[in-house]
């Protein structure tokens, strides 16, 4: 907690400026109150690939003999690869990624990692989440610090939502803000005769004189909550999409995220995970299924957001705690590695390969080396997408990656 917390405290003053438009709307309770403006703030959707995604088989260097040699059973062949260019291609199951690239909506940031890579899932994921090594106290995550830094006194809408059954990612831990982990939209529904209840409470609110202090706070919060529940209810009833989402777990989670975004919630961070990338043995079938799930879901989500008019303000980032070893192992799988590609998807990305594919001839303990620190990616997203100063959040300045169009 030492330096970081103090650092954050000292930086709060400067960064409170950034979050425009997050002022609490006074929806229904106070008669004559101005209509809430539709939000146009940017949104970040995190898709975490847990277990260590095999980057070398996601963006395959099919032309390199070193790759084919190191992966006698697993290499993606030039014939099968979905070509990105003459040398690199997606795994054939990653059709969705290929579609995104063709529509100029996918930035592939190559060689992402960090110095002295840790090959423990838990430890490496914690490093990605907190930007801190094990020796430091890690009580909050980079997104949690973003929330702390942009917090408004009486902000009512949920600042971030984690969708899933797993433990809440440390990235979302914050000093001051509690991020709800939800498994479904149910958490935003009034369960019994919502309409009648809402009407009565809204009427009570309309005739009440606005209270000061805590009562006033709960009055506006209640207005906001009833409005959100109505919006979500209406949105999930009204929500229609021409896009067919796959039946997969990730696709359904992203579809829920799409509904929440479309309902008008002012939440700026959504977090979902896809687990199972720890492919130590018989990788081929498992990895194929995972890449199909990932790419199908991402493709559907990005197109859906575009169809609903949110394409320009929704950015999806996908990462894994590490890549996998170049040399496949004796069980037709791969072991824990280091650098790997990360992805940004959305209308406003600079589509294509960004940075070089890591060299297969300059390895560190058998793994390809990183050239882009993951915090550079975070800095890009914080500075250029979320519109805050990344330095206090990341604990320093990091060179941005040219992955977003201004």
């Amino acid at each position: 907690m030492t330096t970081r917390r103090d650092f954050l405290k000292s930086s709060l003053g400067t960064s409170a400026v950034v979050s425009i438009g997050a002022t609490a709307p006074q929806f229904l309770l106070q008669a004559g109150a101005a209509e809430a403006k539709p939000t146009d703030e940017t949104i970040l959707v995190m898709v975490q690939l847990s277990g260590g995604n095999d980057g070398l088989n996601t963006v395959a260097p099919f032309k390199e003999s070193a790759y084919r040699k190191a992966r006698p059973t697993l290499a993606v062949s030039a014939g099968d690869a979905l070509k990105i260019d003459d040398s690199y291609g997606f795994h054939p199951a990653a059709k969705g990624l290929s579609n995104l690239l063709e529509s100029d909506r996918l930035a592939i940031i190559q060689g992402v990692g960090y110095a002295n890579p840790n090959r423990s899932h838990f430890e490496s994921m914690d490093i990605w989440h907190t930007c801190q090594r094990k020796t430091a106290v890690r009580n909050d995550g980079w997104l949690g610090r973003f929330l702390d830094n942009t917090r408004q006194g009486d902000a009512l809408d949920i600042p971030a939502i984690h969708l899933g059954r797993e433990k809440q990612p440390l990235a979302l831990s914050s000093q001051d803000i509690r991020v709800p982990s939800v498994t479904s939209l149910d958490r935003f529904r009034l369960k019994e005769s919502a309409g009648q209840l809402r009407k009565t409470v809204t009427n009570i609110g309309k005739s009440a004189s606005p209270g000061g202090g805590l009562l006033g706070f709960v009055q506006t919060s209640t207005g906001s909550a009833l409005s959100a529940s109505e919006q979500i209810e209406a949105a999930s009833g009204r929500y229609k999409t021409g896009i067919t989402y796959p039946e997969s777990g990730l696709a359904q989670k992203l579809k829920t995220v799409a509904q929440l975004i479309d309902s008008g919630l002012k939440t700026r961070i959504y977090y979902v995970t896809l687990d199972g990338f720890d492919t130590h043995s018989r990788q081929a079938a498992a990895h194929e299924a995972l890449l199909r799930e990932l790419s199908g879901a991402l493709d559907a989500f990005v197109r859906d957001m575009d169809e609903h008019g949110h394409g320009d303000r929704v950015l999806t980032m996908s990462f894994s705690e590490f890549g996998r070893r170049l040399q496949e192992n004796a069980s037709e799988g791969t072991d824990h590695g280091a650098a790997a590609p990360a992805f940004l998807a959305g209308n406003r990305v600079k589509s294509g390969l960004i940075g070089k594919h890591p060299s297969l001839h300059d390895l560190q303990d058998g793994d390809v080396k990183f050239h882009t620190d993951f915090r550079q990616l975070y800095a890009t997203v914080l500075d250029q997408w979320l519109g805050v100063d990344s330095a206090p959040i990341l604990g320093g300045k990091f060179t941005r990656v040219p992955a977003l169009r201004s």
Binding site: M1, T2, P180, K191, V201, A208, L214, T222, A225
Partner: protein, 465 residues
């Protein structure tokens, strides 16, 4: 009474409240006392409490709580059963049961007092320890007993014991506190969060204090001192120098001037009002009392619960109900019982899982309890609680409860609930909206009452305590 909290006269504030014709001792004030000193009271209990004087009542509540703190729950059959599962989630139901079944009358048969459970909850948040990391129900239970035993006792003794409590040692990584690599986590939190508050120590003090705790370990769920890992050298902490042991290090912290004010401020926020922060002149008399009594908690609590300010407009309705206060309070006021495992899950969903505070700071409380998802969750919780098949009121139904309390129509019901459940009364237009709502609903009388209560629980006033 002064208008502005900054200009409040501390003597007036902390003098015993004596009822007058302008401010009579009534059911609303008695309900306020019960909400703050515990988890609410039934209509019948309020009638009984009205027979007594507020100042005498405060004294006897503290005495009852002290007596109850001597009765160790280790002999509790329910606790034993819950512990046998090894799951700290189940312990929550045990604790909620104690809160729900505590008695205002000091009746020994119920084993416990509302004030004692409320204070234990306060200290649980103060010395925040999360079961997720500790991962051992027995250790969490041991810590809970420790907090209950010291709830009204000597803060110094409690802090010494909690510093060696196995759950705390694990939670704040003291178990990796070795001579060569002192872990600063506990040393920091004991000063920042448990005793002094930020600004009353330096980073250097933390490093030096951490050295005192080296060698404090947990073996077989018990505290163990490993002298081979203890740094026996000279340390300088908060201006004092010596070859301090862990206990001596804690003692140095306990002697700091900032401590009584820090604790008094926190007690005011918990028992009197969420906001604004209490002005210094209001904190000082309680800090002085704490100092003079050798850091004993009981006199401070008694002073607070008997005071003018506690019964004033600065306090009544000036807190946000915590999830536990909301869930257990609703059952408690309606003489209800339910499936407390389910209730514990609900409380978790709206932000307060006992034994699982979000971090070492405990629950921030106040406005942080409220957001879109927790407000809707609160309404759903009340609805489900009232309709749950295991829920009983007075052993029966809501209809029977209403009858027993001579409530025979929706208008009377609204008045009755308003006084029983709300710290801030409904205005007339709200009452007429609710009446219209009650008259529209049809069907089984108990179900209609449940609908009305759920609607009431969605009205902003309901969330204030």
């Amino acid at each position: 009474m002064p208008q502005d909290i900054a200009s409040i006269d501390p003597d007036w504030a902390w003098s015993p409240f004596s009822p007058s014709t302008e401010q009579p001792w009534n059911r609303r004030l008695a309900a306020h006392l019960c909400r703050r000193a515990g988890f609410g009271a039934t209509s019948k209990e309020l009638d009984e409490l009205l027979e007594r004087e507020p100042a005498e009542l405060a004294r006897s509540l503290v005495e009852n709580a002290k007596a109850a703190s001597m009765r160790d729950p280790e002999t509790d059959a329910l606790a034993t059963a819950m512990l046998a599962t090894g799951n700290s989630r189940n312990l929550a139901a045990w604790w909620l049961y104690r809160m729900l079944n505590s008695s205002w009358s000091g009746d020994q048969a119920t084993q416990t007092s509302p004030l004692l459970e409320k204070l234990t909850l306060f200290w649980h948040g103060h010395f925040g320890t999360g079961a997720e990391k500790v991962d051992d129900a027995e250790m969490m239970f041991t810590q809970n007993r420790l907090l209950r035993r010291h709830s009204l006792g000597d803060f110094g003794a409690m802090t010494q014991e909690i510093s060696r409590d196995p759950a705390m040692l694990i939670y704040l990584d003291s178990t990796t506190n070795r001579k060569a690599h002192p872990n600063e986590n506990y040393a920091r939190e004991i000063m920042e969060l448990f005793c002094l508050g930020e600004g009353n120590y330096t980073e250097r003090d933390i490093q030096e204090l951490a050295r005192c705790f080296t060698g404090w370990e947990v073996r077989r769920k018990k505290f163990r001192f490993n002298r081979y890992q203890h740094d026996t050298g000279t340390k300088t902490i908060l201006g004092k120098t010596g070859k301090f042991t862990g206990e001596e290090g804690v003692e140095v912290v306990l002697k700091q001037k900032a401590l009584p004010r820090f604790i008094a401020r926190k007690l005011i926020r918990f028992f009197v009002f969420d906001e604004p922060a209490a002005p210094e002149q209001l904190v000082e008399p309680l800090a002085k009392l704490l100092r003079q009594s050798g850091l004993r908690i009981a006199p401070v609590i008694e002073r607070i619960l008997a005071s003018n300010i506690f019964y004033s407009a600065f306090a009544v309705g000036r807190k946000v109900r915590s999830p536990v206060e909301l869930g257990i309070g609703l059952l408690r006021c309606l003489n209800g019982s339910s499936n407390l495992d389910r209730v514990a899950q609900h409380l978790d969903e709206i932000g307060q899982a006992v034994f699982y505070p979000p971090n070492v700071k405990g629950w921030d409380g106040g406005r942080t309890w409220i957001n879109t998802s927790t407000l809707l969750g609160r309404s759903n919780l009340v609805g489900e609680l009232l309709r749950h098949e295991a829920t009983r009121f007075d052993g029966q139904t809501l209809e029977a409860l209403a009858k027993k309390n001579a409530v025979s129509n929706p208008g009377e019901l609204i008045e009755w609930l308003d006084e029983l459940l709300l710290a801030v009364p409904l205005d007339d237009s709200a009452k007429s909206e609710l009446l219209a709502f009650a008259e529209q609903t049809t069907g089984d009388p108990s179900r209609r009452i449940a609908r009305l209560i759920q609607t009431l629980s969605t009205v902003p006033q309901f969330h204030l305590a």
